[in-house]
């Protein structure tokens, strides 16, 4: 099993301490929601208990009122009332509440009750329909029921009004006791819910812990996919991890191949160097020795180029993997690269020419690797042209052109060398493949170009130059500023 170093463990512990906790967030959010719900519920309970208490005691009040109403009587053509004892014994069920009442008629006015109790229901009153409402009287808020009805006695016209009220003490007590009870229940439910959330969060996050444990327990080289039954929510995580590990596995394999092939590539020139050196040692005449040494120097330069190329390849690979692509001007970059290489090319009898449709063309790219790409393309073209130039005994040219398409930028590097045979065109981008072994080269350059263009979402292809030679076209997507996120 893989052991963490002590330092690493310490940093991780520190990071863990600072890191926001998924579980805490979950619990906080859950608790917040429950608290809000509980508050709303408590508010509702307050209103509800008030209404319930009013409803219950209003029935008593109405019952007493109706008993009074039944006992309205006519005495010698005047209205009076004989309040039954039972009416007030009904009201006495609200045992601490004071009672106020007033009976009056449209003809006689005041009949009995509190002379000072004057009241009208706030809403439109209707004959024969009892109305309930609150009003302040005698220093307290009282609940009143109000009833006006037509008189049914033969000799008396008009209406009679009964007003009956009681203080709200029993109502408040009842409402308070309902509220207290309900709040207790609500709080209990809220607490239970919060505890369940805490337990639930543990349960929900458990599959993550299981994946974590499984990864921790793995052998260092084990990049096989995770085989674990996970719930739907962590299935994507598992898949992503597996994909990631597959890529890692592929990269590792490539790296191994690359290392092996690099070693192989270096062994051949080294063996050749050794042979040349032995040859030089065995030569007897100084002229021949001199000649052999020249060959050794030549071979060493080639070897050095190969190593440089390999190093560049490594740097480019690293940069491509680590750097983000940013908008940059392809025209100035290519121009600069051409100017740098112009002198070297000229020394080999090659004339570099550069032309561009536009002054500035933006693409998303990584500057260093694009330079390397350019170096390799130009270097390649010069090399192939140079051998032909030597043969033909005349100066050759390599043309570099940038053309703007609708949403593309096309870079062409055109040489007039011997060209590349059709069956080899598809293979030139393979690493360590060399079309012409007479021409010095590492076999790495165009493979690197391919790698770079792939990373830039660009197409690269080889075609023939008329009448002779090869053209390499790189087709970049144009960066359009409006689409950028800036």
């Amino acid at each position: 099993m893989w052991q963490r170093s002590a330092d690493l463990a310490e940093t991780e512990a520190l990071e863990l301490k600072k890191a926001p906790s998924l579980r805490k967030r979950f619990i906080f959010a859950g608790t917040g929601v429950i608290a809000v719900i509980a508050l709303i519920a408590i508010n509702l309970v307050f209103n509800y208990s008030q209404r319930l208490a009013d409803l219950s005691y209003d029935r008593l009040l109405l019952s007493a009122l109706l008993q009074m109403d039944e006992n309205i009587l006519a005495e010698n053509d005047t209205l009076s009332i004989d309040i039954p004892w039972s009416a007030f014994s009904t009201l006495a069920q609200a045992n601490e509440d004071r009672i106020f009442y007033r009976v009056e008629s449209s003809v006689e006015g005041y009949i009995t009750g509190n002379k000072t109790l004057m009241s009208k229901p706030p809403s439109q009153s209707e004959l024969g329909k009892p109305q309930f409402y609150n009003q302040t009287f005698s220093g307290e808020v009282i609940r009143l029921v109000w009833l006006e009805r037509a008189v049914t006695e033969a000799n008396i016209q008009g209406s009679v009004t009964i007003l009956l009220g009681q203080t709200r003490l029993s109502r408040e007590t009842m409402a308070a006791s309902i509220t207290t009870r309900a709040i207790q229940v609500i709080l209990l439910i809220a607490i239970v819910a919060i505890i369940l959330i805490m337990l639930g969060s543990h349960l929900v996050l458990n599959p993550l812990h299981r994946i974590e444990e499984l990864l921790e327990e793995r052998q260092p080289g084990d990049l096989t996919p995770i085989k674990l039954d996970t719930p739907k929510e962590t299935f994507q995580l598992k898949v992503a991890l597996n994909h990631f590990m597959a890529r890692l596995h592929k990269n590792l394999e490539e790296l191994e191949n690359y290392t092996a092939e690099s070693a192989h590539q270096l062994r051949t020139p080294l063996a050749s160097l050794k042979a040349l050196a032995e040859n030089a040692r065995d030569q007897t005449t100084p002229e021949r020795q001199q000649e052999a040494l020249e060959q050794i120097v030549q071979q060493s330069e080639n070897l050095s180029d190969t190593v440089t190329m390999l190093l560049n390849q490594a740097v480019v690979s690293h940069r491509l993997q680590t750097q983000r692509l940013i908008p940059l001007d392809l025209v100035s970059l290519i121009k600069k690269s051409c100017m740098e290489q112009a002198v070297t090319a000229l020394r080999q009898g090659i004339h570099l020419s550069f032309e561009s449709d536009a002054k500035v063309l933006l693409i998303k790219g990584e500057a260093f690797s694009l330079q390397q790409m350019m170096n390799n393309l130009v270097d390649n073209a010069v090399r192939y042209s140079a051998s032909k130039a030597l043969k033909d005994q005349q100066t050759k040219a390599v043309d570099i052109r940038i053309k703007q398409g609708v949403d593309r930028v096309v870079l062409s590097v055109i040489d007039y060398g011997d060209g590349i045979a059709d069956d080899e065109k598809s293979r030139v981008f393979e690493r360590f493949y060399r079309a012409n072994y007479e021409i010095s080269g590492s076999g790495v350059g165009l493979a690197m170009v391919k790698e770079i263009t792939d990373r830039h979402n660009a197409n690269v292809q080889v075609s023939d130059t008329k009448p002779t030679g090869a053209t390499i076209q790189v087709d970049f997507p144009l960066f359009i500023e409006k689409e950028s996120e800036l």
Binding site: I83, F88, A92, D97, R98, I99, G139
Partner: protein, 362 residues
């Protein structure tokens, strides 16, 4: 020690508009000492009470003995007057404490918001039927009785209940002429209460009773004590609806008198105390209520045959050999307001007057 407390009767001019009976003042001995009065100003406890002074005096004395800094000014008032006086003084009351047996009037005062809330460990121990809203507190419970002069009573047996009484009146109609006494419900608050409770308990019996009273020229009284006097000296054969505590005390010391608790039903009446809303010296009023309800106060009522204590209501019923007959406790609750309904009250008094063949009071 009892000698140390002097009963002082002083004439005081009443500053209020209503000329009111002069109070009886109770002070602790030390308060009469001039030197001592420098030390502490005595606190005055004005008591408006419908309890006869005779029955209350030992309790008042015991209280001032216990609280030497308090001086009691005792105003003996009729129950109905008492009510009107409290209403008249409601904004600036002179009384610290109101004591009355007219439970309905007392309750009406509380219902109309004229009483102050008071709470103590003593009031908390009271049963619910003996208090209301923590503003009115009953401190005694007594039966409402008939009192008979057995020397003059016609027939062999004394009536046990109201029907017996009706029968006796029928049989000895002449002997009963002008010889029955009862409360004038127009002038006595407690008298009205008892009559209205009778009418409520047994409407038919009550109707027959007042018809019979009317045809035998019933005498009407303001107070129980006057009725007892007339029964004792033979002016009356029988007094109807008397307060049990007074009747009992007199009957114990007078062989001519027999107290009867009607066996059809016996009303039980409570005397109650309340503190007016804006009462001066309400602290002492509260202390006095506590004293009345305390074991000391309650025992004193029983031992001195003053009143029947509330804390052992059964004691009041025990005086009767027949415990089986029903008792009706008049409870301190909102139902009492019905009896004092304006329309009901005037109708009730009118029918009482017409039954008793009395002319309306001026």
């Amino acid at each position: 020690m009892m000698l140390a407390i002097k009963l002082v009767i002083s004439l005081l001019t009443i500053s209020s508009g209503i000329l009111f009976a002069n109070p009886v003042v109770f002070k602790h001995e030390s308060q009469r000492d001039q030197k001592a009065s420098f030390i502490q100003e005595p606190r005055i406890l004005n008591v408006y009470s419908a309890v006869d002074l005779d029955a209350f005096e030992p309790l008042l004395r015991a209280f001032v003995e216990k609280s030497p800094n308090t001086t009691i000014a005792y105003y003996d008032v009729n129950t109905l007057e008492l009510y009107h006086k409290v209403v008249a003084e409601k904004d600036r009351p002179k009384a610290s404490l109101i004591i009355s047996s007219a439970m309905d009037l007392q309750l009406k005062l509380v219902n109309d918001g004229l009483a102050k809330t008071y709470q103590s460990s003593m009031t908390q121990n009271l049963p619910d039927m003996a208090k209301w809203r923590n503003q009115i507190f009953a401190f005694s419970l007594e039966p409402v009785v008939m009192l008979v002069n057995q020397n003059h009573f016609p027939g062999k047996t004394l009536p046990k209940n109201r029907l017996d009484l009706l029968k006796s009146m029928r049989q000895h109609s002449d002997a009963f002429q002008g010889k029955i006494g009862t409360y004038d419900i127009r002038t006595s608050g407690v008298g009205y209460l008892l009559a209205s409770q009778d009418a409520r308990q047994a409407d038919a019996t009550w109707g027959r009773l007042i018809e019979a009273f009317g045809s035998h020229q019933v005498q009407t009284y303001c107070c129980t004590s006057a009725m007892i006097d007339d029964v004792a000296n033979g002016d009356l054969l029988l007094g109807y609806n008397l307060l049990g505590s007074y009747a009992n005390k007199r009957a114990l010391g007078d062989p001519r008198l027999t107290m009867i608790m009607p066996s059809d039903y016996t009303l039980l009446l409570m005397r109650s105390a309340l503190i007016p809303k804006f009462a001066p010296n309400s602290e002492d009023a509260g202390l006095f209520i506590d004293f009345l309800l305390s074991p000391t106060g309650q025992k004193l009522m029983l031992s001195e045959n003053l009143l029947f204590p509330i804390d052992s209501a059964s004691q009041a019923i025990n005086i009767s050999p027949k415990r089986s007959h029903p008792t009706r406790i008049i409870e301190l609750d909102q139902q009492l307001l019905v009896g004092r309904d304006h329309a009901k009250q005037s109708r009730f008094i009118r029918s009482w007057e017409s039954a008793l063949e009395l002319t309306e009071l001026e």
